[in-house]
């Protein structure tokens, strides 16, 4: 690999070398192992965290037998699953049935690789750390297409759910998986469009680049993109994870258990693991995109937690991610499930047009800011943008009215 191509492709300085010797390989191996262990233990704690918080909100005690405060409950449940009979239904497509848990589980793991889990980004530093004389980042890989890897992996995760339901050869899993597929691809469009606003501000797809651009709370993308993309992203993410109130995939009153009805033993365990691991990784991705990842919250130029450096960055990532994990659990304990038509209307008729419109207004503002000096042209562009959005809103509303009128002409079904 010649030098120019290497600098185009590679970002992590550790891997940007032709000298592949034991030290580099050892650091890579240590990182992979660390991510693997953090992933599994984090998921275990997340399940416990969720059960404990929900039980608190519902005036129950929750798990309290296995280990202190019931913290080992998930481990006990997981071990129990190994001893359960593993059924392969008669009508199942045997091969796809076996592969589907991997399609859900492996992408969930791989999502960890592009999340910046620490590093010192304060005062314009680029977030690299030096371990054993090698300069590297506190994330597994840092390719120039970082965010695209996230989108690709979350799309592959949809296949896991879709094929699991299809391969079961049973009614309810099939219905659940068709619903799940429609829901996930719908909200993926909203997710992708709101992500566009972040890329507009950051100008890069690399996750460490996105974090590096968010120095100071005014530059955090949650503020810089004007809050709306954050809200859309957060809602779309909840639907992508099929967490309440968007858990129609496994609405047990209508669909038994949804796509994983026919799964038992550790095959079910892998789906469960993937689901909860996705909650953690997606929260960390929201933190990376909108809340500056390892960037500290400063008070008068001083880190509010008091200690800077790579471990300060890790601490900030954990704190911010925990805030989102708590919010997801809070959603689950608070919000009732949506009806299916409400879910689709909400995604297609509100989130997606709003995300697209907001992106275009932001693009217009940025373009004006690049081209002209001063506040006047920017304000003019903002006014024009709002006017165009209003016209678009009227047009869309007219479409909704026409559609409703046509339906009423057909008459009420019941």
């Amino acid at each position: 690999m010649n030098l120019m191509v290497a600098s185009l492709l590679a970002v992590d300085p550790l891997l940007d070398t032709d000298k592949w010797w034991w030290k580099v390989l050892a650091i890579v191996a240590a990182k992979v192992l660390a991510i693997f262990v953090i992933g599994l233990i984090g998921t275990m704690l997340m399940v416990w965290f969720e059960r404990k918080i929900v039980s608190g909100m519902q005036n129950r005690i929750g798990p309290n037998k296995a280990g202190p405060f019931g913290i080992l409950q998930t481990l006990a449940d997981g071990m129990k699953l190994f001893f359960k009979e593993d059924l392969l239904p008669d009508k199942a497509d045997k091969w796809v049935f076996r592969v589907a848990p991997f399609l859900a589980f492996v992408p969930a793991f791989l999502l960890w690789s592009v999340i910046p889990l620490g590093g010192d980004f304060t005062d314009g530093k680029d977030g690299t750390v030096t371990w054993f004389g090698e300069t590297t980042r506190v994330q597994l890989i840092d390719p120039p297409v970082g965010i695209l890897i996230v989108l690709a992996l979350s799309s592959i995760g949809v296949y896991g759910i879709m094929l699991a339901g299809w391969a079961s050869g049973s009614k309810y899993p099939l219905l659940g998986s068709v619903r799940a597929t429609a829901q996930m691809i719908s909200y993926e469009a909203a997710l992708g469009l709101s992500l566009g606003a972040v890329l507009l501000m950051s100008g890069t797809l690399s996750t460490s680049g996105i974090v590096g651009g968010q120095d100071g709370i005014g530059n955090w993308n949650i503020v810089a993109t004007g809050f709306i993309p954050f809200v859309i992203f957060m809602i779309a993410m909840t639907a992508e994870l099929s967490r309440p109130p968007f858990d129609l995939v496994e609405a047990e009153q209508e669909l038994v258990g949804g796509f994983n009805t026919e799964y038992s033993s550790i095959r079910f365990g892998l789906f469960f693991l993937a689901e909860f691991m996705n909650v953690i990784t997606m929260s960390a991705i929201i933190v990376t995109l909108f809340l500056g990842g390892p960037q500290p919250l400063t008070l008068g130029g001083v880190d509010m937690l008091g200690f800077a450096g790579p471990f300060g960055g890790t601490l900030w990532v954990i704190l911010k991610t925990l805030a989102f994990l708590y919010t997801y659990v809070w959603f689950r304990a608070t919000l009732p499930r949506l009806r299916y038509d409400q879910l689709m209307d909400f995604g297609w008729k509100l989130l997606i047009p709003a995300a697209l419109g907001w992106f275009l207004v932001l693009a217009a503002l940025q373009m004006t800011r690049d081209k002209y000096d001063g506040l006047g042209p920017v304000l003019l562009a903002a006014a024009l943008g709002v006017a165009v959005l209003f016209v678009a809103y009227l047009l869309f509303n007219a479409a909704l009215v026409v559609s409703k009128r046509n339906r009423e002409r057909e008459g009420v079904a019941y």
Partner: protein, 165 residues
Amino acid sequence: MGQYLPLVVLMILATAFGGLSFAASRLLAPRRPSAAKQAPYECGIVPSRQPPDRFPVSFYIVAMLFIMFDIEIIFIYPYAVERATVGEFGFWAVVVFSVIFFLTFVYEVARGGLEWGPLHGYRSLEQDAAMVSAARDSSSTIRRVGLEGRVDRVTAGGANTEEAA
């Protein structure tokens, strides 16, 4: 491609973890299959009908619309990243594409392509509220018939007054 080596290693490790879990489950778990266990699960009822082959057309429309929106996303990401390079021309290109795209979406919505399920009839909320009012109790909503000549305490509804006395 050295940059992606750790990703490949993690993928192998995750797949190996899944495979080993299956192997462990195979060794540890009992295996007593029976016809009832292997039948499709329908809450204990013997399945009488095959799972549906055909689905409402709305699902296919959603899939096609998703591809359209994916094209829009593919179109705006390069612009968002390379905004400084493509400048004003790039912006207007995105706007023109988005306007055409939005108009087709409006047409799709107006044709009812994104309507789900049958139309629900109007339900009066006042009537619902009256159904749960405190004035309604077992003495006002249950019409007691055939009580002539009966002294049975429960059915005659006189139990409470007798006990209070």
